[in-house]
């Protein structure tokens, strides 16, 4: 009797503890997600009530060249950003994990951009990248070199935005890797040193296999986040020049809020959701299975 009550009380306490998170998830995520799926089958201009149109939004998107183009831009963004950012973060994390001077200061410096507002970061970088008056091009001119049309040309604009994105969120990925690195038991590393393994060998034979789960986690999170990239292109280029940086979510935002085609915008959201789900699933199947989760 007494024991039973405790169990029930414990269960109740448990539910109460997860309630804030659960309620938050229901109200702010699950319900909007369901609403978005329903709305994707309607024509909705935000002003009048949504009207059921079946698959018309999806059909319209398939005929829309900018839709395909924005999808391509986002894929390019993901394919360049994810490996570059995660690899760079891993290298820096390994270096920061050594006993070097100013370790804490350096760690903080890498985290500052991550905790800064994206729009502010983006705007600052547009000044730095400005082809005519930006500091980088001013320096290039001083050294007798030509200006680089960072955000001005269709070839440079996307790489430029990716550079800023890699830089801004590097701190987050460094923290993830640092956590992983600190989980590696010291004895293993020490044993390897005693056996005469070089730093290079230790990195590939010990570090990489042992942080496998962390590496996998980081790549997945990075990929999902990058598929949803919006703020930097929005603040830096507005998708331009031309369509050079018009990524998927930027176009989605424009469709919904500027062009008042919220039905099509929600259909875009559903498609992106499915794309991310499929890509993550593939990722789990192909790489996830080979990960060694046993740290001892």
């Amino acid at each position: 009797m007494w024991r039973k009550r405790t169990t029930r009380q414990e269960a109740l306490a448990g539910y109460l503890f997860i309630a804030p998170n659960l309620i938050g998830f229901l109200v702010f995520q699950l319900i909007p997600i369901i609403a978005a799926v329903v709305l994707s089958f309607t024509a909705w201009d935000l002003i009048n009530d949504p009207k059921w149109v079946g698959l018309a939004n999806y059909k319209a998107l398939l005929r829309d060249p900018v839709f395909k183009l924005s999808l391509k831009k986002t894929f390019q963004f993901v394919i360049i950003n994810v490996p570059l950012q995660s690899a760079l973060a891993l290298i820096i994390a390994v270096l920061l994990n050594q006993n070097i001077r100013l370790q804490n200061l350096l760690r903080t410096l890498f985290i500052v951009p991550w905790v800064s507002m994206s729009v502010a970061v983006g705007l600052t970088w547009t000044w730095i990248f400005n082809s005519q008056f930006g500091i980088i091009n001013q320096i290039l001119l001083k050294f007798g070199m030509q200006r680089i049309p960072w955000l001005a040309s269709q070839d440079w604009a996307l790489p430029s935005v990716i550079i800023v994105n890699v830089w801004q969120y590097l701190g987050f990925h460094i923290i993830v890797f640092l956590t992983g690195l600190q989980l590696i038991p010291r004895e293993i590393t020490e044993a390897a040193i005693v056996d005469g393994a070089s730093a290079w060998t230790r990195f590939w034979r010990i570090t990489i296999p042992l942080i496998g789960p962390i590496l996998f986690y980081d790549l997945i999170v990075n990929m999902i986040g990058t598929f949803q990239i919006f703020d930097l292109p929005y603040a830096m280029t507005g998708g331009g020049p031309g369509n050079a940086t018009r990524v998927y979510n930027l176009y989605l935002y424009q469709k919904g809020f500027q062009f008042l085609r919220m039905g099509e915008a929600t259909a875009m959201a559903v498609i992106l959701f499915l794309l991310i789900a499929v890509t993550s699933g593939l990722f789990f199947r192909i790489i996830g299975r080979r990960i060694n989760y046993d740290l001892t």
Binding site: V27, F28, Q29, P32, I33, A35, A36, D45, L46, I47, N48, L123, W125, T126, W127, I128, F129, N130, S131, Q132, F133, G134, L141, Q146, R147, P149, L151, A152, S153, Q154, Q228, F230, M236, T237, G238, G239, G240, P241, G242, N243, N249, L252, Y253, Q254, G256, F257, Q258, F259, L260, M262, A265, T266, A269, V270, L272, F273
Partner: protein
């Protein structure tokens, strides 16, 4: 998807809180506007309104231009909008066609409001399908701000109101801009050794596809072009007329041939043309009269305005103005109308004109504005009034934002020198065809 949903929901919650705070005994009207420069003037007018209408309380909500339209659209989705808000021609056509705004015509007729006191072209902006959705609040035309110090330094006389441009050799306008464009060795754009890859100061700025109102559209008109669409809410694309293409080519030439203006990117991302003008990097920028207040805060150099240069077909300026719109689904239609009737009326426009911030839409009150303005910079403010002699108005179309997005992108590529103007126009034409139907 998550971001969007979040955004809609927070807006909803915040607006619910606002509503809950409303006092019970008075009718509370929410009034949304975007220009802080005009806040003081309109506060004075609204206070007078509340004194005369003790049963109504007006709450002013200032939302910056960049967030303003998103706030309006999400507000519409949540069925929770300010009762009265500032409208702009660029967004009006989209809103009105979707039934977001209240038709004022029955109220105007019932109360016998005299609409002949307004500039007629401004009244027409708020006209749609035989209904009237706003009474004009103010107006603006386009002139050119110039930095007197940079002219003095280059020993170039200030531009005079009879200066000209043409698409063949550029005219006085280009020549003056060339004298004020300098490379890092201090050589101007007419110098044979001038290096266009190392420019540090431009004669002119604000060449961008998105700069239609203060930019390329005026030059299209001055070259004899019709504009973008054949008529308000028309369905014929006319920016492909030879006169228009020639004028747009001239704008591209300013960047790519004469090298007197930077490419679009330099003023769209990272520092607007206005910022560059204030920083002394540009000698001249085209600017609407709404920039006068901002201009008066310039302390580092002295400046003045000059009318647009005369084109082959005369001088034409964009003529635009704002109005107060009423949300179609407001529960307080009658009270909202009383506010709009007051605020656009003669007495209120006089109060606002006395602050000298925007030109009043009541023709007779322009002198009151000028009187209030006397003694302030720029000396030549009257050119904005001269420019009302020959004007063009904002292109209106229910899909305007989508059409303009395409135009802005393609023209940016052309002005940046990445594609030529005719192919940009061709591309625009094919992309907007289905939107114009």
């Amino acid at each position: 998807m998550k971001r969007t949903a979040w955004f809609v929901l927070t807006t909803l919650l915040v607006s619910l809180l606002f509503t809950a705070a409303a006092s019970a005994d008075k009718v509370q009207l929410r009034y949304m506007f975007w220009d802080q420069n005009q806040e003081e003037a309109y506060r004075a007018s609204i206070e007078e309104f509340m004194r005369r209408n003790p049963d109504i309380e007006v709450v002013m909500e200032l939302v910056e231009w960049n967030d303003y339209w998103t706030r309006l659209t999400t507000g519409m989705a949540a069925r929770n909008l300010p009762d009265v808000f500032w409208g702009h021609a660029a967004y009006f056509s989209g809103f009105v066609a979707r039934g977001a705004l209240l038709d004022l015509k029955p109220y105007i007729e019932r109360d016998g409001v005299d609409t002949s006191i307004y500039f007629q072209r401004l009244l027409d902006v708020w006209h749609y399908n035989g209904a009237q959705y706003g009474l004009p609040k103010d107006w603006d035309t386009i002139a050119i701000f110039y930095n007197k110090d940079l002219f003095d330094k280059a020993g170039v006389p200030y531009p005079t109101d009879d200066w000209t441009w043409n698409p063949v050799d550029g005219g006085d306008f280009v020549r003056i801009a060339q004298l004020l464009t300098l490379d890092d060795q201090g050589r101007n754009a007419l110098d044979p050794d001038f290096d266009p890859t190392r420019i540090v100061q431009y004669g002119f700025g604000d060449i961008a596809g998105s700069n239609m109102q203060a930019g390329w559209l005026n030059f299209v008109w001055m070259n004899g072009g019709t504009g973008v669409i054949d008529k308000p809410y028309g369905n014929k694309f006319v920016l492909n007329e030879p006169e228009a293409v020639e004028a747009l080519q001239f704008w591209s030439d300013l960047v790519n041939k004469y090298h007197v203006a930077p490419p679009p990117e330099a003023t769209v991302a990272g520092g607007t043309a206005w910022d560059m003008f204030v920083a002394g990097h540009f000698a001249m920028v085209p600017a609407g009269s709404w920039m006068l207040t901002a201009g008066r805060s310039i302390e580092s150099f002295s400046w003045d305005v000059v009318g647009l240069p005369w084109g082959p077909k005369g001088r034409v300026s964009a003529f635009n103005g704002l109005a107060h719109n009423i949300y179609a689904h407001t529960p307080h239609k009658e009270e909202a109308w009383r506010l709009v009737k007051w605020i656009e009326g003669y007495e209120s426009q006089k109060i606002v004109a006395e602050y000298g911030t925007v030109f009043p839409a009541v023709e007779e009150l322009v002198d009151v504005f000028l009187e209030a303005y006397a003694g302030r910079e720029p000396a030549n403010v009257g050119v904005y009034i001269d420019l009302t002699e020959n004007t063009g108005t904002w292109p209106m179309h229910v899909n305007w934002n989508e059409i303009f997005d395409v135009i802005g992108r393609e023209l940016d590529l052309a002005f940046g020198g990445f594609i030529d103007v005719p192919s940009a126009i061709e591309s625009i034409e094919s992309q907007v065809a289905h939107l114009l139907e």
